[in-house]
Symmetry: C2
Subunit: 458 residues, 2 copies
């Protein structure tokens, strides 16, 4: 079964919004054996939407559209699909009731927030007065605007796709083209709503129609390998026809994905388990995770598993390491403290970096990094101290230390390690991301007692 | 003049890579009066690419493709365009020379990185040995692979678009369709390379061909207004035909964009200046920036302008505030210290939060937030201390403090302010982002002595 993905909206075609829905849909469809064969985007214009739908149905058995299901006049998807299918629009009372209920509930839900919104004093030096809380939302009834009724209209005979987290339901509409039955599936453009509707209703509906072929994928995440190097390492790891192997650079990591297919009832996971063993052997410690996870998840997992606590002292990464670590639920069990010392004074006063170290070697030096790591470890009582210092640019370069000079250090009971890297002037964001990833990778390798260096960035 | 954007590649259609190029192209094209009318994506398949090119040329005067210009067998764009245009492929010696030069230079550039890659000791407890540096890259000659020669082939008569940062040049090829001259412009898929080639060669080429109409836009960034509220506030701010007004939710900010058009020689900036005054009046302090910038840029700008220094104590935001602040070049002038105290012990030991405060009111309380703000201010000597503490979830909720409870505090010479917010359980990432934005907005409003609260999130 093939599919074309169609994003609808002026904001997509005009470049104000990046279409992330089509990629999400494509990935999910492939897991159930539906092959995406193309992507289209059309503006909020009837002729353009109709043309895109027609083209989609020329190329594939299914067109899945996102967007254009809102309540306003420029939301045209439903009307276009009805026209294409030659069906009237019919009001679905059950959907209408849900939309109305949603508006009522929102009115109520907003109350506590409004209550909490006491006014801040006009003069910041004043003590905070306890203003009486606003007891009611600004629109107490929060009645449903009339035009939301439009969202309960569907082409006659459609399968309705409920939207548990928003107002716009979707629908699946049958269309005859060239003597064949094809389908248009319409979902809202809000990613969170669309994703849940896809998983809960659309994928099961599609699976029920194509019970033959099944697909399953596994992702392997690496850091410090160029895509071409990863390709080389995995050459011949699967025999032709055994699985499909694809590569993806998802900065700063590089991933490989294996996809196997079979009939319903085949144990695809078992086949992936076997292939995973071969991949693991080839990649060794370059592989930091099986799955699409960040290095921070692996690090938190390892630290928790071994009962190791960590503290971080950041200069050039500016809080990014802490931010990434604290994105992982449960990180509080191993992450004690992060000190971002952008100023030299703070490096001295808070972390105890010595004046002589800073004056002799500079803030960006392995010596300073080591004293930062040791200092934050002492301050926090953590088992492991990690430090970064570097020149993110655009300013700050000195003779012998160009933009992109970075030092990383680790300190633990009885030992310290540090290294200086030249990562090049590739922009502030790039340098922060790469340095944070590198530091997390050093923590990972320290824990597993593997000390290979990743390749320098390409 | 109209354009269709075409992204080429299996990774796009298959959903492994999100196409960001089309949105970038669309935005840029609109600034010179070229109207994007649709977007297509095609896999690495000759028939599919040819079909997409034909469709694009049906809809618009220009098709701009990205991707498929690489050296390997599945890079088909150039061959497809030549076929479409009925032209032979011809080798461009000057492009070939540049590609070869690039490979030679890369061989040389890699040496210092490899030199720096001393091995880490196998046992982390060992002192770091000074291993001799690898003096040479692994492939010393780094000769150009044969298949890169393909990247110097172009359809006869094309205008070549140089690529200053990568190997694949692009080209502009004339195609006759329905008695009209149309153009296919092919650029590589790597965003950084594509963007520079667009700005340096393609846009000037397009401008030279359509000297009539010019467009100019201005973006207004707000925080704490729902999109519908912003719409309401700006209703009627421009007369019909005077400018185009569009809205965009770019979480956690909401933006309005005004676009004016005129003929070459018209002073569009002057007209935008005048409109900006009206927008400013309507939005007041909800407007935090004119332009597409983050709140952190505004905050760093204000602090530097007024000579105020800041220190941050983060709990639930986990380093995100520091990360955002340090994304701004020059932030080191006002940003002294950030302490991420995830553990209560660290709150006590590093920031001096009192044991009784933690036991009586809990870590997530306005009292703890105030002591964190005061503590980090004292520790750093900064003018302003800012603190966040909250329950990001999924765990950590206690009776009366559900997931999404957040406290923010500011401390300055002679004053302290704090507030508790109920932001709801919308996921960890969401809560960190919103809380960081809210804290930065409180700093902004403190500096400009405006103390309105933003609306609660929708």
């Amino acid at each position: 079964m093939t599919a074309v993905l169609l994003a609808i909206g002026d904001e997509i075609v005009g470049g104000l919004t990046i279409d992330t829905n089509s990629a999400f849909l494509a990935e999910r469809l492939r897991t159930i054996g539906v092959e995406p064969v193309g992507t289209l985007a059309a503006p909020d214009d009837e002729a353009a939407i109709l043309r895109a739908l027609e083209r989609g149905l020329e190329d594939a058995a299914i067109v899945i559209s996102t967007g254009g299901l809102g309540p306003t006049a420029d939301d045209l998807t439903t009307a276009c699909v009805a026209k294409l299918a030659g069906q009237e629009l019919r009001l679905d009372e059950s959907s209408l009731a849900k939309i109305e209920e949603r508006f009522r509930a929102r009115g109520r839900e907003m109350t506590p927030n409004r209550k909490a919104a006491e006014a801040m004093p006009k003069n910041p030096a004043e003590a905070m007065p306890k203003n009486p809380a606003e007891a009611m939302p600004k629109n107490p009834a929060e009645a449903m605007p009339k035009n939301n009724r439009k969202q309960a209209l569907f082409p006659e005979g459609s399968v309705i796709v409920p939207n548990p987290t928003g107002t716009a339901p979707g629908f699946i509409c049958e269309v005859e083209r060239g003597g064949r039955t094809r389908h248009v599936i319409c979902l809202p453009g809000v990613p969170r709503e669309m994703q849940r509707m896809l998983d809960e209703t659309v994928l099961p509906w599609l699976e029920a129609r194509s019970p033959q072929q099944r697909f399953s994928s596994r992702v392997f995440s690496t850091f410090g390998l160029a895509e071409s190097k990863l390709d080389e390492l995995l050459e011949g790891v699967v025999a032709p026809g055994e699985a499909r192997l694809a590569f993806r650079a998802a900065f700063p990591r590089v991933q490989a994905r294996l996809t196997v297919s079979g009939r319903a009832g085949d144990d695809l996971e078992e086949r992936l388990d076997e292939l995973e063993q071969r991949v693991r052997q080839r990649l060794g410690t370059h592989l930091y995770a099986v799955g699409d996870q960040g290095m921070e998840e692996t690090v938190v997992g390892l630290l928790r598993q071994r009962g190791i606590t960590m503290a971080v002292a950041e200069s050039c990464t500016g809080g990014l390491i802490g931010h990434r670590i604290t994105d992982v639920p449960g990180s509080s069990a191993c992450f004690i403290l992060d000190v971002v010392t952008y100023a030299n004074e703070a490096k001295r006063n808070v972390l105890g970096v010595r004046v002589e170290t800073l004056s002799e070697h500079g803030a960006v030096s392995t010596q300073t990094a080591e004293e930062m790591a040791t200092g934050v470890r002492r301050l926090s009582g953590a088992d492991l101290g990690v430090a970064t210092t570097g020149i993110a640019g655009p300013g700050g370069a000195t003779p012998g230390k160009p933009v992109g000079t970075v030092c990383i250090a680790l300190a633990w009971e009885g030992g310290v390690w540090s290294r200086r890297y030249q990562l090049g002037a590739r922009g502030r964001d790039w340098l922060k991301s790469w340095t944070a990833q590198l530091a997390l990778d050093r923590v990972r390798r320290w824990v597993i007692e593997d000390h290979d260096e990743p390749d320098p960035p390409e």
